[in-house]
């Protein structure tokens, strides 16, 4: 009576075993795409007069739950996928490079997650299928950081140029083990420096180790994912796609669906510092005519973050440049040479390396100006003359350590755009740049800057005990509770 049952109960459209390459590529796409867009508002790059969409810049209490999206998305996508890959390749010594790449990528994905939310499930996570673990414990961020740094260390040293790689399935480096090693040490530098407030010794140890291992300094080594201009959404630049679809697709400056514009703070700063990137990043639409953009310096004007209705001059305000920031086939920069140089500058200032801080800083600024040419060779490139001019006008000033930090991390804020998530982490660690929190009516923080974002309410429902333990350890699930390295 059960003849053919196994065949009948086999999905004709799916396979029973994974192809690690395909899953790894998916994990790379998903890892890059999982970002909290609202952080663009929090970091005062953008805002919206519509206060639902404006949560990021206004922290309105009624919208706080929108901040949990990246948590819910991370696990069943990038994190589980990378686990599938690791399980598939870990036991084959010939696949050591694949394993190493997967481990490094896992660290990248987890670091993005824990930096925003604090304690998250880590050691027991993604074991639903293999171990029937449906309620993983939340691990202290301290332990997560220790393990991530250890993982980077082990993975970087295990890379072997003689062995096979993911090749073209590796969107970041096409299988180049030397570049993976630089990416691993660059991440180690980033995560190590993250610990300066809470564990300066560990920070020094890991930063020193990273620098010794060799970090990204050349444009060619920048970790990035390339995208297509059309086709499936997953193959298009996720930040550009989301900004475009949600707000800027009308390309006329006036009917932005969610009322988005650049924030006054950001535009004012770029104008005040005569930043040549302003015209690359920002446009206004002349007379509200579709596609008639104007990048003229004088016309750029940001929108204040305290509006609750559409301002009369909305159409004249600056918004992302469709030829760069909104370009669907522009690459997403995962780790830049500029960031590496800024972190190196700080390490030098702290005396952890032999490098000269002013040189490293200038290298960082120069790399940051150059990187827009990677975004768009035609519309992002700055002439060498303009780059040199700006670099020369923005040398690292003599002064106190704090003054120098402020200069580095204000420049970092401009340079890391549009990676608001990294800006948010850097801001919480260093306090730079100086940003005035938005005391919008009905905000959830009493007018203070958010220090983390919220776990999904569903975790209360689905993972109650673990969730409660995390709250008890870390503090209430609010925007003001600080994560471990932000204490």
């Amino acid at each position: 009576c059960t003849k053919d049952f196994e065949e009948i109960n086999t999905n004709p459209n799916a396979v029973g075993t994974i192809t690690p390459e395909y899953v790894f590529t998916k994990a790379q796409y998903d890892g890059v795409a999982n970002m909290l867009y609202l952080l663009l508002g929090t970091m005062q790059y953008t805002t919206s007069f519509n206060d639902v969409a404006g949560f990021g810049s206004k922290y309105i209490a009624s919208q706080v739950n929108s901040s949990s999206a990246a948590f819910s998305t991370a696990y069943p996508n990038a994190l589980n996928e990378i686990n599938l890959v690791i399980n598939a390749v870990r036991d084959d010594p010939a696949k050591v490079n694949m394993l190493a790449a997967a481990r490094i990528w896992r660290v990248y994905c987890y670091s993005r997650l824990t930096d925003v939310y604090g304690d998250v499930p880590y050691f027991q996570a993604n074991q639903g299928y293999t171990d029937a673990q449906y309620t993983p414990a939340y691990d202290p961020q301290k332990d997560i950081y220790a393990d991530m740094l250890k993982e980077l260390d082990e993975a970087a040293t295990s890379l072997d140029p003689a062995k096979p790689t993911f090749g073209a399935a590796d969107l970041l480096y096409n299988g180049n083990t030397a570049q993976w090693k630089k990416f691993a040490y660059s991440l180690m530098l980033r995560l190590g420096m993250r610990l300066t407030k809470v564990d300066i010794a560990a920070a020094q140890t890991w930063a020193t180790k990273a620098l010794a291992g060799g970090v990204i300094t050349e444009d060619a080594d920048i970790a990035k994912v390339n995208y297509l201009a059309s086709g499936q959404i997953i193959n298009q630049n996720p930040l550009a796609y989301n900004l475009l679809i949600n707000d800027y697709i009308a390309a006329n400056g006036s009917t932005n669906q969610e009322g988005g514009k650049y924030q006054k703070v950001f535009i004012d700063y770029l104008k005040q510092t005569r930043d040549p990137r302003l015209g690359i990043i920002s446009v206004v639409y002349t007379g509200g005519t579709p596609n008639q953009t104007d990048t003229a310096f004088a016309k750029q004007q940001g929108m204040p973050a305290n509006l609750s209705a559409k301002p009369a001059n909305f159409a004249q305000l600056s918004e992302p440049n469709p030829k760069t920031v909104l370009l669907l086939n522009s690459p997403r920069l995962v780790f830049t040479a500029a960031e590496s140089y800024f972190l190196q500058t700080e390490a030098a200032l702290r005396g952890w390396s032999g490098g000269a801080a002013p040189t490293l800083y200038s290298n960082g600024v120069r790399a940051a100006l150059r990187q827009w040419a990677i975004i768009s060779p035609t519309d992002g490139a700055l002439s060498a003359q303009r780059i040199t001019g700006y670099v020369n006008n923005n040398q690292l000033v003599a002064g106190s350590f704090d003054d120098k930090m402020k200069q580095i991390y204000t420049q970092f804020w401009v340079s890391i755009f549009p990676d608001a998530q990294e800006a948010f982490a850097s801001y919480r660690r260093t306090g730079d740049p100086t940003l005035t929190p938005n005391n919008y009516p009905g905000n959830a923080t009493g007018g203070q800057f958010p220090r983390r974002f919220l776990y999904p309410v569903s975790e209360q429902n689905l993972n109650t005990a673990a969730y409660n333990a995390a709250i008890a350890r870390q503090g209430p699930n609010t925007l003001l509770t600080r994560v471990y390295w932000d204490k």
Binding site: T2, P136, I233
Partner: protein, 1124 residues
């Protein structure tokens, strides 16, 4: 002459009477002895006048008999043998005594015809001489010829005509030569009913050990519902019907005796069976969710295809006991639909039924009309301000001022606009016409019907058309070989099915949520000169309703064929082999266009579904019946193979390359995903029925199912059932007022496989990519896109039901009672359990949980008034179902199944609560009842998630009254549901947008808040008028504020009918004609909500959520029914 001595005289106990006679040799008149037996056994005994005179029996023997445990028949036999008389049983409790010498028949003949109310002849009716065994049957035209005994020569005789489902009719015949017509009327004696049970087997209702309920087809055709399942509302105790407010082609949701499964995908609805074979009741695509966007529409279920005019009767088998023979899917009850058949007659019978109804909105919500459009207490005076505040009623106090600017750019008086719903929606209209032809002879009887249903919904442009052709053939090929075949073809087309849930492309958003001083017509036509959507509010996702109506495209077409054929062969006397094959197949095409210029998707979007779905069954049964003296036996053995399959292509894409050209080929990005699902269930089963003297009945069944969807190591399940009944009143002395008392009891198990295939092995699927190949874990809920964990050990569900019941007929059968208690336990339930995404997956298939449904059902019906011209029949049913989740899987106390848009409320299964409980937050209070505030944000603290109430009403009732005065009849049906809660997503928005009266506090001078902080210190603050909107907006984080008692009492149905006198129309050869005023959902007599408490948008398990869908309607119209 025959006299009938019924037991209608007052009786003393037979024990008292014995004392009058000396013991031993004393004689007793036979007449008295017979009277004792009549009294003792509550039987009727007929005999020819004078037959018992001068006959005596030994008194001591009578005394022995009266203290014995002999049956009535044995006692009669012992009494009569001594006096050389014979007797025969002629009915359940009727006997006739005769002398064999008088039994000779002479040629005294009566000829006549038995007809129904409509004048058509009744083939197969029985005509007997009253009180005797002398009788005959009618032929194909209803004619009969009956030879009378010589003793009645020259005497009037009483003939009794009977036919299943009709009251017995007695006529006195004096003149043998006069033409005789006996007209039968529908029976109102429920206990004589024959009902259709599992596998289409007709049984006397009194034989059954479980609760069944029957609804006649004629009760469905006057006051119609487009979806015939909705017509069951309030009619059957324990059947909880929730019609959806999703427009004219919408689905229904029927739950019998509560939610039996905790699974989200097992839809808990009963199995629909058409003429003995299962039919498909799926909703193409999937049922709408509480948080979906534009394509989140109800595409109509399978039962919606059935034309009520084709239905002879609907039988509801409520429990697993009734459904044991249907196996896996019978656990939630079975709704058996028997379609009309042709019958042998002269000429062609023609029936025509026509109904026209109009529909209007049932409830207009009450809003505040003190403060109008605007924000922060300021009304808009510019177009930009009007557009920013298009759905905000946070403006100034209404003052009639004339500088108010609307989204049309014009100035208007600043006054309330209370008729936006009436302005936006139209009256719905439905026209249904059915023509049926029937006729035939013994070799072939046919019934062929054609029907057209044309509906326009409340939403302009929303239409539904259903064409049905139904052909039923039956007959005999030889004396032993008979056949039956059914073919039904449907074409269903629908346009602009309205969406619910989230705001995107939801046409209902604008009329409901527009500011209270704005006229929704200012939004017309919804698009500008370029064809782009015009802005009416600050959120582009809240689509302009007129843009949806005028520019969105959504159409679907379902072509459905249901075919059945059976052959039945009598191998030997009483041994019948029957084979049946059936297929229910439909092809479905759906297309949804989000047009170019839609604000939230400027370049447009495309969604399409192309699917073919079929359910095929092959069934073979062998039945044998045998009467051995007083024991009736019947055996059945059978085997069934079921295969269901779905092949679907889901098309999706974004960006029309050439604007306004809506073709899949014109998409910038298009993806087609193939979906295939197959499952088989193979079964063998058997049953045995025992019947002892029509007093005791016992049925045992057994079935073994093999499920393809389960683990190969655990995919077989055997399950038994037993049920019995006992006619107490035939055995035990009952007062005169009691006509019948029956006790019944049943115990049954039903197994069940996984509702979806491919739940056993984890698989990986390609992810559409324009670049490198991508792969991820396959979704375990096809089409959901969510990764889920399969279960290699998945085994069968077992549902066990025990029930007991009592039926009674009282006061000359004018009052009847039917009580049932049941306890149904579902164990090892297969639940695709939502788990924390941190596990790497969104759900896991588990044999998780145990859920109990227990309850009572009561039906009281009666005929308080019955006179020649006026009668009143009434019936009241009440059911209470107590549903409780007893256990989930180890370590999991609560599983989440659904959530609203914004996660403002959840549907959970939690141990100790009812299944599909509404879960959410409350405002945190301290022990003194003070509100606890978060000092940093200044907002009340929300509690952790907690159970808020049942999503399904535990208590349901229906109250039906039929009044008949001469040719006029009035049917009034009330129904009610109690004890459930409804979470209103509309009210979340109506609060955020300042429409509800509850948002009035603080409008003038700000809102003073007082309470305590988390640490218990006093807290107070003044929310300024400018901050009120954000303050009330934040209310959405406290679910309890939007939760209401969902109970109601409704005037569900009114039918006022006039049966045209036949003589006036006989020259047109019309047999009958009825015209009726009909109304459905006429009034809500009790409710606790600002909306229709039945406002529902999905027939999934996720009830209890109201979600800005199409308003529910009341309908009224005319029905005309004629027969030629």
């Amino acid at each position: 002459q025959v006299a009938f001595a019924a037991h209608t005289t007052p009786q003393k106990s037979s024990y008292d009477q014995q004392a009058q006679y000396p013991a031993e040799t004393a004689k007793k008149p036979l007449r008295e002895a017979i009277d004792e037996l009549k009294s003792r056994y509550q039987i009727q005994v007929a005999f020819q006048q004078g037959l018992l005179d001068d006959k005596y029996v030994v008194a001591a023997a009578v005394a022995d008999l009266s203290s014995s445990k002999l049956t009535a028949e044995n006692s009669l036999a012992q009494l009569l043998v001594a006096v050389h008389l014979q007797f025969k049983r002629i009915g359940a409790k009727q006997y006739v005594i005769y002398s064999s010498t008088n039994a000779q028949l002479a040629d005294d003949v009566v000829k006549g015809k038995v007809v129904l109310e409509d004048g058509s002849g009744v083939p197969g009716a029985t005509v007997v001489v009253k009180g005797t065994q002398i009788g005959t049957g009618t032929d194909a035209e209803g004619n009969f010829e009956l030879k009378l005994p010589p003793t009645s020569q020259g005497q009037p005789v009483v003939l009794v005509a009977s036919f299943i489902g009709y009251a017995k009719m007695e006529v006195t015949v004096t003149n043998r030569a006069a033409p005789l017509t006996i007209k039968l009327a529908k029976s109102d004696q429920t206990l004589d009913e024959v009902v259709v049970t599992a596998l289409g087997i007709a049984k006397q209702k009194r034989d059954l050990g479980y609760a069944v309920a029957e609804v006649k087809g004629e009760d469905l055709v006057q006051a119609r519902e487009n979806n015939v399942a909705n017509a069951l509302t309030g009619k059957v105790a324990g059947v909880n019907v929730a019609g959806l407010s999703t427009g004219p082609g919408g689905s229904s949701r029927v739950i019998i005796r509560g939610n039996g499964s905790l699974s989200g995908s097992a839809n808990n609805q009963p199995l629909y069976v058409l003429n003995g074979m299962p039919m498909d009741n799926s909703v193409p695509g999937q049922a709408p969710t509480a948080n979906g966007g534009g394509t989140n529409v109800d595409r109509g279920d399978g039962i919606a295809s059935i034309n009520p005019d084709d239905i002879e009767s609907i039988t509801v088998l409520k429990g697993g006991t009734a459904a044991a023979l249907y196996g896996s899917r019978g656990g939630n009850g079975v709704i058996l639909i028997t379609t009309k058949k042709g019958r042998a007659q002269k000429g062609i019978g023609v029936e025509f039924n026509s109904t026209s109804t109009i529909e209007s909105i049932s409830v207009i919500p009450e809003f505040q009309y003190e403060y109008g459009q605007g924000d922060g207490g300021v009304k808009p005076t510019t177009l930009a301000a009007a557009q920013s505040t298009g759905r905000r009623s946070w403006g100034a106090r209404l003052d009639g001022s004339t500088d108010y600017v609307g989204v049309d750019g014009q100035t208007h008086p600043y006054v309330a606009q209370k008729d936006n719903l009436k302005h936006f929606y139209q009256l719905g209209r439905t026209f249904t016409n059915t023509l049926a032809l029937s006729g035939g002879n013994e070799g072939i009887a046919y019934r062929f019907s054609l029907s057209n249903l044309d509906s326009e919904g409340l939403l302009p442009g929303s239409t539904y058309n259903r064409k049905t052709g139904n052909l039923n053939l039956s007959g005999k090929l030889s004396p032993r070989l008979s056949y039956e075949a059914l073919a039904q073809y449907n074409i269903e087309t629908a346009n602009k099915r309205p969406s619910a849930g989230d705001a995107l492309a939801n046409p209902n958003w604008s009329p409901y949520m527009i500011a209270n001083t704005a006229d929704v017509r200012w939004l017309k036509p919804g698009y500008d000169a370029n064809g782009y959507e015009t802005v009416w509010n600050d959120a582009s996702v809240a689509t302009n309703g007129y843009f949806v109506v005028n520019k969105f495209q959504q159409d679907d077409r379902k072509n459905r064929f249901i075919g059945q054929a059976s052959l039945s062969y009598e191998l030997a006397k009483n041994l019948v082999l029957k084979g049946t094959v059936s297929q229910d197949h439909y092809d479905y095409n759906y297309r949804n266009i989000t047009p170019t210029g839609t604000l939230y998707a400027l370049t447009g979007q495309y969604a399409g579904i192309k699917s073919d779905v079929s359910e095929t069954n092959a069934l073979a049964t062998l039945t044998y019946t045998k009467q051995i003296k007083e024991v009736g036996l019947s055996f059945l053995a059978g085997a069934n193979k079921r295969r269901s399959s779905l092949n679907e292509l889901d098309q999706a894409g974004t960006g029309f390359t050439i604007p306004f050209f809506y073709s899949y080929n014109n998409l910038a990005t298009g993806t087609t995903l193939a979906l295939a699902q197959r499952q088989d269930v193979n079964s063998i089963f058997g049953s045995a029925d025992f019947n002892y003297k029509s007093l005791f009945f016992l049925t045992v069944t057994g079935r073994n199912d093999w499920y393809s969807t389960l683990s190969p190591s655990n995919n077989s399940k055997f399950y038994p059932s037993i049920n019995g009944s006992f006619i107490v009143s035939d055995v035990v002395y009952m007062p005169r007022a009691v006509n019948l008392v029956k006790l019944r009891g049943a115990y049954a198990q039903v197994g069940q496989g996984a509702p979806e295939p491919y739940a056993v092995n984890l698989t990986y699927s390609n992810v559409p990519s324009s670049g490198r190949p991508l792969q991820n874990v396959s979704s375990n809920v096809p089409g959901s896109g969510l990764a889920g964990i399969t279960n290699a050990n998945l085994g069968p569900v077992l549902s066990t039901t025990a029930e007991g019941g009592l039926e009674a007929q009282l006061l000359d059968n004018r009052l009847s009672l039917d009580l049932t208690y049941y306890n149904r336990l579902t164990d090892n339930d297969i639940v695709n359990t939502t788990i924390s995404p941190t596990s790497g997956y969104n759900s896991v298939y588990l044999n998780a949980g145990k859920v109990r449904n227990r309850g009572i059902e009561a039906l009281v019906s009666g005929t308080p008034i019955r006179t020649a011209n006026f009668s009143w029949n009434t019936s009241y049913n009440l059911a209470y179902n107590d549903n409780k989740v007893l256990q989930l899987v180890e370590g999991i106390n609560s599983i989440n199944l659904a959530s609203t848009v914004g996660n403002w409320a959840y549907i959970n299964n939690t141990v100790g609560q009812s299944a599909f409980e509404i879960v959410g937050t409350r405002i945190q209070k301290d022990e003194n009842g003070n509100t606890v505030f978060d000092a940093a944000s200044g907002y009340p603290v929300a509690t952790a998630l907690q159970p808020l109430g049942k999503s399904v009403a535990p208590l349901t009732m229906g109250f039906s009254n039929d009044f008949r005065y001469k040719r006029l009849s009035l049917n009034v049906l009330l129904d009610g549901k109690f004890g459930n809660k409804v979470f209103s997503i509309s009210e979340v928005y109506e609060t955020r947008l300042g429409l509800l009266k509850s948002t009035l506090p603080g409008r003038e001078n700000g809102l003073q808040l007082t309470g305590v902080t988390r640490s218990g210190d006093p807290y107070s603050r003044l929310v300024p008028v400018s901050g009120l909107r954000n303050y009330y907006d934040n209310y959405k984080n406290y679910s309890e504020l939007f939760l209401h008692d969902g109970g109601f009492i409704k005037l569900r149905q009114v039918i006022l009918a006039y049966n045209l006198p036949a003589f006036q129309i006989s020259s047109f050869k019309l047999q009958s004609a009825t015209i009726a005023f009909v109304a459905r959902n006429l009034l809500i007599l009790m409710k606790h909500t600002n909306f229709d408490p039945e406002q529902s948008f999905s027939n999934s398990n996720y009830q209890g959520l109201e979600s800005i869908g199409l308003p529910r309607t009341r309908s009224y119209g005319l029905n005309l029914s004629v027969k030629f």
